[in-house]
């Protein structure tokens, strides 16, 4: 009974987290991006707590707290600061339009199901149903990074992808060793901070945060 509940909860949670990722594809403003990321991170934190509870692993509570501070409080704070600084930037013309992006996202999730098939077959964890969804989220995040023109949207895409990786890790292994987990968080934070410093640099040097302005470097 407990097991079915656990597996249903983990699949449901992963689906919700994936939906927040796919949501980016039809949202246009930075504000919406930041909000999606924040709520996705909230859902991810809850997921960590659920797995910690059912999997009887108390380390995950610690990880969940760090995750909450980092991805729900700190990073959204900086995203908001950028929003205030640059105004609510809108991604008006991504390289791929909304309709096609949604279709492609669907295909990416299908692809994720195809390639994670061996994992699901091998695993006996009750959380295995969510793993294809986590892989799908990684692909969707990657897709956002590739197709958006605004530097900040690319950052959010990267962060969403990182959330996908964290979800995959917790679903597949009930959490990687805590020291590694914390190191990864530290790296994400530092990487994010550098990227946001660069957004300011890009803004002052190019007078725009569209990365398609960047065409100085060729052969």
């Amino acid at each position: 009974m407990n097991d079915t509940l656990f597996s249903q909860l983990s699949t449901l949670g992963s689906s919700i987290i994936l939906m927040f990722g796919i949501g980016l594809l039809w949202r246009k403003s930075l504000h919406a991006y930041a909000e999606s990321f924040k709520w996705q991170s909230v859902a991810l934190t809850i997921m960590f707590l659920i797995i910690g509870y059912f999997g009887d692993d108390h380390e995950l509570y610690v990880v969940a707290v760090v995750l909450f501070i980092l991805k729900v409080l700190v990073i959204p704070y900086y995203l908001n600061r950028m929003e205030n600084r640059f105004g609510d930037q809108r991604e008006l013309q991504p390289y791929v339009n909304v309709a096609s992006s949604l279709i492609l996202a669907g295909l990416l999730v299908l692809l994720a199901y195809a390639i994670t098939r061996p994992l699901v077959l091998v695993s006996e964890l009750s959380t295995r149903g969510g793993m294809p969804l986590a892989m799908g989220l990684i692909f969707v995040g990657l897709f956002v990074v590739i197709t958006r023109k605004k530097a900040m949207m690319q950052i959010v895409g990267f962060l969403v992808m990182e959330n996908g990786v964290a979800l995959l890790a917790v679903l597949g292994t009930f959490g990687i060793p805590i020291i590694v987990e914390l190191g990864v968080f530290l790296d994400v934070l530092m990487g994010f901070l550098v990227m946001q410093v660069f957004v300011y640099h890009i803004h002052t040097t190019f007078e725009s945060i569209d990365v398609d302005q960047m065409n100085e470097l060729k052969h």
């Binding site: 695993s123 990267f158 805590i178 590694v180 990487g191 550098v194 990227m195 960047m214 470097l217």
Partner: protein, 504 residues
């Protein structure tokens, strides 16, 4: 204990650089002299490893099992040696040591005190992260430190803020962060398989434990994991088609950073890939990873060869040359023990040759104020020392004797033909010939001809010999030595590494 001698000095140097503001020249000098401690520690480790010891370090607290978190076997020792050697060279040749700061004729190429401070903080952190990455036994820690190298180097690529450098570093940090995130997916998948077999264990991310369990791992999971790892660490190593950040970042970074990235950082990423290749080979047999390495190696060679033909900018030209050598080494690592031996020796040679080239390129750029080949004429006349070294280095890179690369390329092709890959080796040889011809062509343009007087820093018409140039003769000595003979300890070190990596 020995590991703290390896990693503490660069951290200390970074701390000093962070505390002293504004920047003073002595900070740079302290960093440079401190870097001799890791270098001697590296030599000690190498000596221990050659004598059959394997230094390890780790601890276990109540919840925190970090046993054997650092471990230096012969492969690590080889890489530690490469990283510390280039690190020392880079720190001695860094901007901000001596009068350079105040020389008004360096114009827009001179750095301000803030930039120098930032540079000296992050270059030391960068070196420390690389050293940790190659001495980590825990693949999670290895991943964390490699990601950290991305962050630290991204701070100093745009030391001068302009459109080109911002663009280069944005591409660099975005592509590498995304790539390295994919490598983490691979790491997680490897760990996942371990967990589904034998339950959770804190030390399961230790490479030694992974390798021991590998034969029991599920091949279908390992295949998937390795693809992610190859794409991820391959991005960082600059294997085609994930190489696109490389020419930009190499073209825009300050010279010592480029030298470090092209020789040391590349080697570190390759090292991570090799560690995982050993695990994947133990799980799958070597055919799978070998064919992936061959395909990507050949692709890298092809893209690099034709980009070198079209190159107009000599810094980017050497970036493509890095991609070419990356491709060659990938081929080597796919060719069994013989090829692995050649590729590891090639890695050592490439480290010496590429760092030499990027320091010389920096001299040239300061003199000519332009990275364009067509504006760089008459090198031998204006800068006899740099010009001669440049010609030597370039000829070594394209595989002419007496440089060591001649030997390693020869060994590599022999290994390939011995393993019955005539088509692959034939294609690679043809591509190397393309590289050879176009490099000679570019070299001719740069060495001879009349420099247009307007674009040269005419302050000091001919170059004088200085200690900065004298230091580069260390690289020359290494290259010539490795071309003429193979020192016995090095052979032992590489043979032991081959035994780790390739099962015959």
């Amino acid at each position: 204990m020995i590991f703290s001698l390896l990693i503490a000095p660069p951290l200390l140097a970074a701390l000093i650089a962070a505390l002293v503001r504004p920047y003073r020249a002595f900070v740079g000098w302290i960093g440079a002299w401190l870097s001799l401690i890791p270098l001697s520690a590296a030599l000690t480790i190498a000596a221990q490893v050659v004598n059959g010891q394997i230094p390890t370090w780790g601890f276990k607290l109540e919840y925190l099992n970090l046993e054997e978190v650092l471990r230096a076997d012969s492969l690590s020792a080889l890489l530690i040696l490469c990283v510390t050697a280039v690190g020392t060279l880079a720190l001695f040749l860094s901007p901000g040591l001596g009068r350079v700061v105040t020389n008004p004729h360096w114009g827009e190429l001179a750095y301000g005190p803030n930039q120098l401070r930032r540079y000296h903080v992050f270059i030391n952190l960068f070196i420390a992260a690389m050293l940790l990455a190659v001495s980590a036994n825990n693949v999670g820690v290895m991943w964390i430190t490699i990601e950290a190298t991305t962050v630290f180097s991204a701070f100093i690529i745009p030391l001068k803020l302009n459109k080109a450098s911002i663009e280069a570093s944005w591409k660099y940090i975005l592509i590498c962060s995304v790539g390295i995130a994919l490598a983490f997916v691979g790491t997680v998948l490897g760990y996942f398989d371990f967990v589904s077999l034998s339950g959770r264990a804190e030390n399961a991310l230790n490479w030694t434990v992974l390798l021991a369990t590998a034969p029991a791992l599920h091949p279908e999971v390992m295949r998937l994991a390795f693809v992610f790892l190859l794409v991820g660490f391959g991005t960082k190593a600059g294997i085609a088609p994930m190489h696109t950040w490389k020419p930009d970042a190499y073209g825009e970074s300050p010279a010592p950073l480029t030298a470090l990235m092209s020789s040391a950082l590349f080697a570190v990423a390759m090292y991570a890939l090799l560690r995982w290749k050993a695990v994947a080979d133990a799980a799958l047999g070597s055919g799978y990873t070998d064919s992936l390495f061959m395909a990507l190696g050949l692709l890298s060679l092809t893209i690099a060869a034709f980009s070198i033909v079209l190159a107009t900018d000599y810094k980017r030209m050497f970036a493509y040359s890095s991609i070419e050598h990356t491709g060659l080494m990938c081929l080597g690592f796919a060719l069994g023990p013989l090829g692995t031996f050649a590729a590891l020796l090639h890695l050592v040679n490439h480290t010496a040759a590429k760092s030499l080239m990027f320091f010389l390129v920096d001299n040239i750029e300061h003199k000519y104020r332009s990275p364009l080949i067509e504006r760089t004429r008459g090198l031998l006349k204006t800068m006899p020392w740099t010009g001669a070294l440049f010609a030597f280095g370039l000829m070594t890179l394209i595989g002419l004797p007496p440089g060591g690369i001649f030997i390693t390329e020869f060994a590599l092709f022999r290994a390939g033909f011995a393993l019955n890959h005539p088509w692959l080796m034939g294609a690679a040889l043809a591509l190397l010939a393309v590289v050879f011809v176009s490099f000679i062509n570019h070299l001719n343009k740069m060495l001879y001809g009349e420099p247009a007087p307007d674009n040269i820093n005419m302050e000091r018409p001919t170059e004088r010999f200085s200690w900065r140039l004298a230091l580069l003769f260390v690289n020359v000595a290494v290259l010539v030595t490795l071309g003429l003979t193979l020192p016995a300890p090095l052979v032992t070190l590489i043979n032991q590494s081959v035994a780790i990596l390739a099962k015959p």
